[in-house]
Amino acid sequence: MTQHVLVIAEQVEGVFRKVTFEVLSAGRRLAGQLGGSVQAVVLGSGIEGLAAELGKYGAEKVFVADDPALADFTTEAYTNALAGLVGQIQPAVILLGATTQGKDLGARLSARLNAALATDAVGLGVDGGQVVATRPMYGGKVLADVVLTGAPAIVSVRPNTQAVESAAGAGAVEKAAVTLGDLRSKVVGKQFESGKVDLTEADAVVTGGRGMGGADYSAVEALAGVLGAAVGASRSAVDEGWRPASDQVGQTGKTVSPNLYVACGVSGAIQHLAGMSSSKVIVAINKDPEAPIIAKADYAIVGDLFEVLPALTEEIKKIKG
């Protein structure tokens, strides 16, 4: 059996997601343990120029599946394209980012290939020749080490959890012929907010909770602005209609793992903690010293967020020069 690791790169509108480089780096480390090589595949339309970039992170070979029908991601089209390619490459492991698309694709591929799947892994290794992934369960209240049997083992990797390492040398680019078959689902529209940092990939997140008292998030947005952060919300803020559901952080919202998480007027309910407790540094701003978030925060300021946020924004601006 070959011991290759195949990384499915994710590009959106011709730009690789940051998680792709994280997964590629993790793939290289894993391939080292398995004694195989790391290869990558990129799917899309008119994307041939992108492939070389993957070589910079250690992909020894980059397969390019270029087809107008792959311009927009649908689970069906991407699964069809990949199933053929996987048959040809016979990887021991398939890695992809645990993004909305990666999670969907991983699930469909697992059924197509009758392959083991670990979703949203935060750690990866090999034990006795088998892939072991560490993945949060119960909203991160426990971590499970799971063993994946058979080949390929599919693992989607949580964004912001793997160190990016660049590598010398460029990968060989190879065109991959893909058979897409009958495609039933199609993308008929898309709207992206340009320049908006997505919560799940952001290096910093500033969240406003019920303590915001209304839909005016300008204090949170100003701090997010100086930090280059994405803006999140607690479920209460979403239920109040102050923020869209897509901004919700928590067990029934998004899971985030930024370097810096600033919770403003958020009490720190268990369901909220489930979505953000793997953040590297947590800051809480809350007027209640007893709020559970304070005990989880690395740094807390007890005070009124409407006074603290503008002051903090100013001080960070000063420091950043």
Binding site: V12, T75, T100, K103, D104, A107, R108, A111, N114, A116, L117, T119, D120, R135, P136, M137, Y138, G139, G140, K141, V142, L143, A144, D145, V146, V147, L148, T149, G150, R184, S185, V188, G189, K190, Q191, K196, A204, A245, S246, Q248, T252, G253, L260, I270, Q271, S277, V283, I294, K296, D298, Y299, A300, I301, E307, V308, A311, L312, E315, I316, I319
Partner: protein, 258 residues
């Protein structure tokens, strides 16, 4: 419109989760089990479609006998009937669950399957999409709005940084995301009525599946508690400005995150 809804019984989200003595499962005593919150959205959407177009809403669940409670909750919300697939002593993974559901669904006539986009216990994001593959039907995930017309479903879905509209012909499977609707509560008359609604239980053998067909490919080797955060350092200072300046300095010099 024949609609199937996938439902799972999970620990209530406020539960404290503790690792059991075997090291690979959780302690279940004292835990309240509820319908997976995303599945509530799925049931609600199915009921809305039935109210608009007529038809039947059937709830399916894979789980132990106790999981029938989650199906009853769905019946009390207004669904018509339920099927519980009880794997008994068999340990099954997400793919195995999808295989059981596929076997139960294949003989049924259906136009649409509605699922929650993940179960908040395993956080696998696998069962619904894998099921669509096993049934060879299209799937659309992260749905926050849907529209049915001319034998097709058109959905608005959240993706990183925006939304997408995806269309597929029926039969199809859609997976519900927060924002799709506000699930109704089961009313008291609803709960009374639910007791009389049909709820069948099936075993893997009833579905023609043997243990070998359901052999888990993913197995939990060990559960561990995440590292405790030490936390709780409250920034002191004479004024808001002083505290803010101190925090900014610590974030730069100590935490090195800005």
């Amino acid at each position: 419109m024949e609609i199937l809804v996938l439902v799972k019984q999970v620990p209530a989200t406020e539960s404290m989760i503790a690792i059991a003595g075997d090291g690979v499962s959780i302690k279940t005593d004292g835990i309240k089990f509820v319908m997976n919150p995303y599945d509530e959205l799925a049931v609600e959407e199915a009921l809305k479609i039935r109210e608009a177009q007529g038809g039947t809403v059937t709830i399916l669940s894979v789980g132990p006998a106790k999981a029938a409670e989650a199906i009853r909750t769905g019946l009390a919300m207004g669904a018509d009937k339920g099927i519980l697939i009880d794997p008994g002593d068999l340990a099954i993974d997400g793919l195995g669950t999808a295989k059981l559901l596929a076997a139960a669904i294949k003989p049924l006539a259906y136009d649409l399957i509605v699922a929650g986009h993940r179960a908040v216990d395993d956080d696998n994001f696998q069962v619904a999409t894998a099921l669509a593959e096993l049934l060879a039907i299209p799937n659309i995930s992260m749905v926050i709005k849907q529209e049915l017309a001319d034998g097709k479903i058109r959905c608005l879905c959240t993706v990183e940084g925006g939304t997408k509209e995806v269309e597929a012909p029926l039969p199809a499977l859609i997976a519900a995301q927060r924002g799709l609707n506000d699930p109704r509560y089961a009313s008291l008359p609803g709960i009374m009525k639910a007791k009389k609604k049909p709820l069948e239980t099936k075993t893997p053998a009833d579905l023609g599946l043997a243990a070998a067909d359901l052999q888990p490919l993913m197995k939990v080797k060990a559960l561990k508690a995440p590292a405790e955060r030490k936390g709780g350092r409250i920034i002191e200072g004479d004024s808001v400005q002083a505290k803010a300046a101190q925090l900014a300095r610590l974030l730069r010099e100590e935490a090195k995150v800005i």
